[in-house]
């Protein structure tokens, strides 16, 4: 009676797997093959060049942009979740933030970039208001098209995303745990250090990964704010559209392959870290 796969499962699983295979694996494997055969012959030259010069800069920039926005967004998102958790009134606040963040987490892309241009661009209203107050945004060196500008814009979807990831974990902190700690003589700070934070860490790590990948892959927002930014997604576009020179495309394949490797590696790293920090949750 116990077969490993039954017919019905196969009937629906096969089309699904074929779908993923055709539209995800075939293109990925295809570009991997091309990345390792630059100019039609086997070789590592494309993969090497993809990590040199301006491409190396792009990787470094993309990683630091993603890490920075993930860490800042992660911490703020967690703090919002904790603040709301400790706040029972007014009751509308919790559900409003819940709904709005569910929305904002999806609001990347073109419209978001426009919104920040309207606020903080050279012609932005906040730029103007700050200027009237004697603070010159441009002279301060801040620009939406530079590193910290991008971080500021990315936070708009990073904070809500971390909030959505952390809310179930924060909501899972039982009141009895803090009460038990308190009657044992633990201060509130001690409870957070020894019980609550260790319990939140696995979810937080998962959230950081989500935010990192999210920022690394973000294209539209950066494209509007600064099409010439030295970050990986825009470099790929540059190579793909300026495809007149042969060999440039091989470079694009190599950069993409490195990107996928990086994202996959971070996924595995986080899974391992989670297993270590969540020993108590698994058998």
């Amino acid at each position: 009676m116990r077969r490993r796969f039954d017919t019905a499962t196969l009937v629906v699983a096969v089309p699904f797997l074929a779908f993923v295979g055709l539209f995800l694996f075939v293109p990925t494997i295809g570009l991997a093959v091309k990345a390792f055969t630059p100019g039609g012959t086997l070789g590592l030259s494309a993969m090497q060049r993809a990590l040199e010069g301006s491409y190396r800069t792009a990787f470094v920039n993309s990683i630091s942009l993603s890490l920075t926005s993930a860490l800042i967004g992660g911490v703020i998102g967690l703090l919002v979740a904790l603040s709301l958790h400790s706040l029972s009134r007014p009751r509308w606040l919790r559900s409003t933030v819940d709904s709005w963040f569910a929305v904002a987490a999806q609001l990347g892309g073109i419209p978001l970039a426009f919104a920040f241009i309207a606020a903080l661009g050279t012609q932005g209203i906040i730029t103007k208001v700050l200027g009237l107050a004697g603070v010159s945004v441009t002279e301060s060196g801040f620009s939406l098209s530079e590193f910290w500008g991008l971080v500021l814009v990315y936070l708009y979807f990073q904070i809500p995303l971390m909030f959505l990831v952390m809310m179930p974990a924060v909501g899972g902190l039982r009141q009895t745990w803090s009460e038990a700690a308190s009657i044992m003589g633990a201060s509130s700070a001690r409870y957070w250090r020894s019980v609550a934070l260790p319990l939140l860490i696995p979810a937080f790590l998962g959230g950081l990964l989500l935010l990192f990948v999210n920022a690394f892959a973000a294209y539209a927002t950066a494209y509007v704010l600064n099409p010439g930014a030295q970050i990986v997604p825009l470099q790929i576009r540059f190579l793909l559209q300026g495809n007149v020179i042969t060999g440039e495309q091989d470079l694009a394949y190599a950069i993409v392959l490195w990107t996928i490797t990086l994202l996959l590696a971070s996924l595995i790293l986080v899974a391992l870290l989670q297993r270590r920090t969540a020993k108590w949750a698994s058998a």
């Binding site: 779908f19 993923v20 995800l24 919002v80 706040l87 419209p111 576009r237 495309q249 993409v256």
Partner: protein
């Protein structure tokens, strides 16, 4: 402590509100920022920019394309995913880890990466496939997978699909009947969640469509804003509100069923 918390929450609220308000002002007030003085705050407000966009035939075409892509992506997602998710849950729970892994993979191959792979393979072998804008559908379904699959899976578990399946099985129902007549009606919330997340993704995706030269709402928006800044801003705001509305509906429906709209977790 309490004061700090309230200041913090207020600052966060400000950060999230200000760009939207700035956007609305830019879109609907025809006074350039340079000329804006306190006495002109109430002058020149109109929604003519937005009306201009709506009348634009190119916009209409792009919007219709995006809506079609949205509907098709949702349909493909449900037809392809729901039976797999259901059968894995009720008949082969050991495959759950495998499915969780597979459905997470599109994550590490973002649109800007996959478009290169697609160009490397499909463009040479099946160029006709990429000619139609509908060729975007499978990829959109793919990127929505980490979210849509988790939504469906959570729904199946929330209704105790296994027990329902076994109960219906004892009464003599076939697997197909059980999925269509028992499971689907019970997991409306999860189906809406999966649809809403897919819709939001389709309405926002830019990289893939732009690089394959497809005219969708986001690519039109990026192009249009260059020539018509004010109308472009109005359109972006409208799209943002539409997306927000769609997701909000999903959140409401889910909350009434005691569920949350989940982010894809690891």
């Amino acid at each position: 402590m309490r004061v700090l918390r309230n200041i913090f929450l207020a600052a966060v609220a400000l950060y999230f509100l200000v760009p939207l308000l700035a956007m609305a002002r830019f879109a609907f007030q025809s006074v350039p920022v340079v000329l804006l003085t306190p006495d002109k705050l109430l002058q020149g407000w109109s929604i003519s920019g937005l009306l201009d966009v709506f009348a634009n035939p190119e916009f209409q075409k792009a919007a219709i394309t995006s809506l079609q892509l949205m509907v098709l992506s949702i349909l493909v997602t449900l037809v392809l995913l729901l039976p797999v998710a259901a059968l894995v849950e009720i008949r082969a729970p050991r495959m759950r880890t495998l499915m969780a892994g597979i459905t997470l993979l599109p994550w590490v191959v973002p649109p800007i990466a996959l478009v290169v792979g697609v160009a490397a393979t499909f463009r040479n072998t099946v160029p006709w496939f990429l000619a139609s804008p509908y060729s975007l559908v499978p990829f959109y379904v793919l990127w929505a997978l980490p979210f849509s699959y988790r939504a469906l899976d959570a729904g199946l578990r929330a209704i105790g699909a296994r027990t329902l399946y076994e109960a219906a099985r004892v009464m003599g129902a076939s697997t197909f009947t059980i999925i269509v007549r028992v499971l689907v009606p019970n997991m409306v919330g999860a189906i809406i969640a999966a649809s809403v997340l897919t819709a939001a993704l389709v309405l926002g995706e830019f990289a893939f469509a732009a690089l394959l030269l497809k005219e969708t709402l986001p690519t039109f928006m990026a192009e249009f804003q260059r020539s018509e800044p004010r109308a472009g801003m109005a359109l972006a705001l409208a799209v943002m509100l539409l997306t927000a509305f769609i997701i909000w509906i999903g959140v409401r429906v889910l909350r009434r069923r005691g569920m949350e709209l989940q982010a894809a977790g690891v």
